[in-house]
């Protein structure tokens, strides 16, 4: 029987931040569920509350509720789930690094600062490739 991996629910509005962070956490041995906003996070938690161990969320939360509101909702409705809030991309990468330190894999695949570098490169490429208006 395979051991159940601890699960991180990653709440981040920008795919260029969310995908590299999620891949990093997967390489650290976590199962990662990716959502774009607080409403999606709530829908997943209502459907499968026991599946998630930690929620890593941005504080701004784009269109449907802030990370703070989500954290309050989780504390009221989902006992036992830890919530980590990050106000900036750098903070989110740092928190992902912290999760990796205590994560299921024996060693981190690489330092979280490399994830941050990758995210910044992707964002710069997106800006460069946007059609000029």
């Amino acid at each position: 029987m395979t051991e159940k991996k601890p699960c991180v629910l990653l709440v981040e509005a920008d795919i260029l931040v969310r995908h590299p962070l999620a891949e990093y956490l997967r390489e650290c041995g976590y199962r990662v569920l990716e959502v774009n906003n607080a409403a999606e996070a709530r829908a997943l938690l209502e459907r499968e509350p026991s599946a998630v161990d930690v929620v890593l969320a941005e504080t701004d939360g784009a269109s449907s509720g802030s990370g703070f509101e989500l954290a309050n909702w989780i504390r009221r409705n989902c006992a036992g789930i830890d919530v980590e809030l990050a106000g900036t991309v750098a903070k989110a990468a740092e928190k992902a690094g912290d999760l990796c330190e205590e994560g299921p894999a024996l060693a981190k695949p690489y330092d979280h600062s490399l994830v941050l570098d990758r995210i910044r490169r992707l964002m710069a490429a997106r800006e460069r490739n946007k059609p000029k208006r």
Binding site: E34, E40, E48, A125
Partner: protein
């Protein structure tokens, strides 16, 4: 004539575009369990943002009706113009692609997970063999 080792070892990348978080996660996790790199986009705009950043993609598996400025068929047209070798699978319960639409396959919703995975693996194989959809 000389094989490129980087190309030979690069895992295949599948971009899953689906606004229903639970369905997106189920498809993505099944594909990951088969060794594929999966990028999860919540709508066509996110998928395009990933493309604009220069992210790798071999196959796109996209819903049609999603919030945002584009639907899945608009996305497929844009991606085709960008890379005619990209394999695009469209899925929908309400909209079928018109004849002449340049997509690799159409999978009606609701679909069985096995059917979705088989369609994606077949598209990856077609991508490896080369040729326009």
């Amino acid at each position: 004539l000389f094989p490129n080792p980087e190309q030979q070892t690069r895992p295949s990348h599948v971009l899953v575009v689906e606004d229903e978080a639970a369905l997106r996660a189920i498809v993505a996790e099944e594909l990951r369990s088969r060794g594929l790199i999966v990028i999860e986009a919540v709508d066509a705009d996110e998928a395009w943002a990933y493309f604009e950043s220069g992210g790798s993609v071999d196959v796109v598996f996209s819903d049609v009706q999603m919030p945002g400025s584009m639907n899945g068929l608009d996305l497929a047209r844009r991606l085709n113009a960008f890379d005619p070798y990209l394999k695009i699978i469209i899925t929908s319960g309400r909209f079928a692609p018109r004849e002449g639409e340049e997509i690799h396959a159409f999978l009606p919703k609701p679909y069985l997970l096995d059917h979705a995975v088989a369609a994606i693996l077949a598209a990856l194989e077609a991508r490896r063999r080369g040729g326009v959809s």
